[in-house]
Amino acid sequence: MSATAQQIDYNAMSDEDFRKQAREFFENEYPDELRFMPRRLSWEESKPWWLTLSKKGWLAPNWPVANGGMGLDPAKLIIYWEETERAGIGRMPDQGVTMVGPTLIRFGNDEQRAKYLPKILSGDNVWCQGYSEPNAGSDLASLRTEAVLEGDHYVINGSKIWTSMAHNATNIYVLVRTDKAVKQQRGISFLLVDMKTPGITLRTIKNIAGGEEFCQVFFDNVRTHKDNLVGKPNEGWTIAKGLLTYERLNIGSPRRPLQAFEQLDPLARELGLFNDQGFVDRYTQLKMDLNDLGSLYQRYVDKVRNGEALGPDISMLKVFAMDTYQRLAELLLEAGAEYGALADEITLGGKKIDLMTPFYTSRPGTIYGGSNEIQRNILSKYVLQLPN
């Protein structure tokens, strides 16, 4: 982390000045060829930008300054995010910054913070998330990977699945069962593990589009020192749950469907669809749905800005965002007619248009981070308070 960066108090700047600075930085420094990518970036693609951000001290906008972050207040943080989206900056393997950092800052101890945070900022550690299991997908609390304390070490056995980018990662944070006698949600602990520890093996899982997006991570008597326990034993569920809420805000952003929408305009123009009232009706419906999603998203952003806690009702944002995204992806394929069956980018009127990728990228969002079915269960139970 850079010493100069720590000296700037961004919160003291006016919103306008901060926005201007962020915009200029993102516009000038982010690699153009990686803007508005319809998929996540690999670690290899991300690394130069990661280091650029890190050098400027801008990698971790919401970490405290003392930990090497920007220490932005909520209002400034929103501006930072807005400008990120505006500039079309891709999603990096950012679990270290978005998940591990905040978790250690809130629930970890000084030793853990000192050991791990600098290596996240420097790009030496790349983290992945070990939550889901082959038989505990939506039903996360039924996980069975277990860790037994033997002397100073937890010994982990079991496996995690749907671990994004695990083959790029140097470290993994895992939810493990440390007490089998108590009810499901209890008895779960939050552990940090070095991916090079003996006993860890990986199996790559190709996704439906043929990309190597996920891994299954196997743990065979994997030993991690008890100093790597975050929070207290058997209290991992509380930590994990809080993080998921913010993941839902992120996944509910209109940004990704808006990127897909960018493909629809040139397609419609080239095929003359703006003269077709039937198409225009469907286009308008989606465009207005996206704007309305923006209004709903803004409501939650305002809450964050005002320092309010996000409750279970945030699930509705994810449900509507994902639903709109999928309808949009489906309209792209339908409007593309025969082009809508082609696997790769097409070129129309000199422009490259990617019809198929939005279809694939719009689907996992209704499954991961709690499927839309699970989100509806949550809303039914905790918001509408319908009986069981």
Binding site: D265, A268, R269, F274, V280, D281, Y283, T284, Q285, K287, M288, N291, D292, L293, S295, L296, Q298, R299, D313, M316, V319, F320, E373, R376, N377, L379, S380, V383, L384, Q385, L386, P387, N388
Partner: protein, 379 residues
């Protein structure tokens, strides 16, 4: 007002509306198709005393000089109990064109009458179904020395059955004229069609109706613009009414789901109904978020294009959500929902009339497309 003062003042307004609403009995609405008493002038006077008819009227004319966001609070709260009085039609739609009037004497008279509740005006702008075009008028105003002689037919006039007079748009060689035609003026006859909710849609026939110069409210582009603006504002406040309707209808339905037992369990424990209720709730919350944003935009008095796009966003979303929620409320009540005795039926009927008034979902999406999508696409 500061932000905190504003919040506090709106909270107080919402409370006073809620207090008033608690005293309203749905029986009256249930009998509306027979009684035809959609405007109880005593109640109307009470509403005037509470200041609600003058929320949007400048303080100089006895009003409160507040914002659409304030008016929305009143309209939403009263819509929750299906108050049939033509609040939006008079205190938003008509009030706006009167406030924009260039004839100061007439403007004063009409606004003061509106605010006090003594004078109920209705705006008669529409001639054909399915259009939001306020400028294209067939009714003709032929000038003579003392004013205009007017011929034409105006349709779908809400609040007409109890109105004391009509503000009529008519075309003339000098551009559009907005003319005040008091009730019972010679040559002006009004007929009615019953709406789904038991209220009346008026059809105003004008045959050689004489309007003196004193009763010319506004003329030319200013007149056209004021009607367009009034329609957008009224569409936004009708959207607020729709949020009140969907909100109460969903409340009633959720209560029912929690208490009605079938197959030995509360029906709200069946997952298929739970997920459907959740989808209705999401539409309700979307409507609220959109309306909130739209009112903020409108209260900043933007240009006409921005204003119309915003109003269309609110009306399209709130209309579709209200129709969906109220229809599903019937369905989720089962057979009970299909009886006249069940309140949800009243909500679906009001939703239907508000959906069609001032442009339904399709009409507003089409207008939005015209300015927000196709103009850009043509480039």
């Amino acid at each position: 007002m500061s932000h905190a003062d504003l919040s506090e003042h709106r909270m107080m307004l919402a409370n006073s509306v809620a207090d008033f609403a608690r005293g309203v009995d749905l029986k009256r609405v249930r009998r509306l198709s027979e009684s035809k008493a959609e405007c109880d002038r005593k109640l109307w006077s009470q509403m005037a005393e509470l200041g609600w008819l003058g929320v949007l009227v400048p303080e100089d004319y006895g009003g409160m000089g507040l914002k659409l966001a304030d008016m929305a609070i009143v309209a939403q709260g009263l819509a929750r109990v299906l108050l049939p009085e033509p609040l939006t039609a008079a205190a938003v739609l008509a009030a706006r064109v009167i406030s924009d009037g260039s004839n100061e004497a007439l403007k004063s008279k009409l606004l003061e009458g509106l605010v006090s509740g003594d004078m109920l005006p209705a705006l008669a702008w529409q001639e054909a179904a399915g259009t939001l075009d306020t400028g294209n008028v067939s009714a003709q105003a032929t000038p003579f020395e003392g004013g205009f002689r007017v011929n034409g037919t105006k349709k779908f006039v809400i609040g007409a059955s109890h109105a004391d007079g009509y503000i009529v748009s008519a075309d003339s060689a000098r551009g559009m004229q907005l003319l005040w035609v008091p009730k019972n003026t010679a040559g002006a006859t009004i007929g009615f069609d019953m709406l789904a909710d038991g209220r009346q849609a008026g059809t105003l026939n004008l045959k050689d109706v004489t309007v003196s110069k004193d009763n010319v409210l506004n003329s030319g582009a200013a007149a056209t613009n004021s009607v367009a603006c009034a329609l957008d504002h009224a569409a936004a406040i009708a959207s607020a009414e729709l949020t009140g309707i969907m909100g109460r209808s969903l409340e009633i339905t959720l209560d029912y789901l929690k208490t009605r037992v079938q197959f030995g369990k509360a029906i709200g424990s069946f997952q298929a109904l739970q997920h459907r209720a959740v989808d209705l709730y999401i539409q309700q919350e979307l409507s609220g978020a959109v309306l909130n944003d739209v009112l903020t935009v409108l209260d900043e008095e933007p240009d006409a294009k921005t204003r119309s796009a915003a109003a269309s966003r609110a009306k399209a979303r709130c209309t579709d959500a209200a129709l969906l929620i109220t229809r599903q409320s019937i369905q989720m009540h089962g057979a009970i929902g299909f009886t006249e005795d069940c309140d949800v039926g009243l909500y679906v009927k009001r939703a239907m009339t508000l959906a069609a008034w001032l442009g339904n979902g399709t009409a507003h999406r089409r207008r939005y497309a015209k300015t927000e999508i196709l103009e850009g696409a043509a480039v």
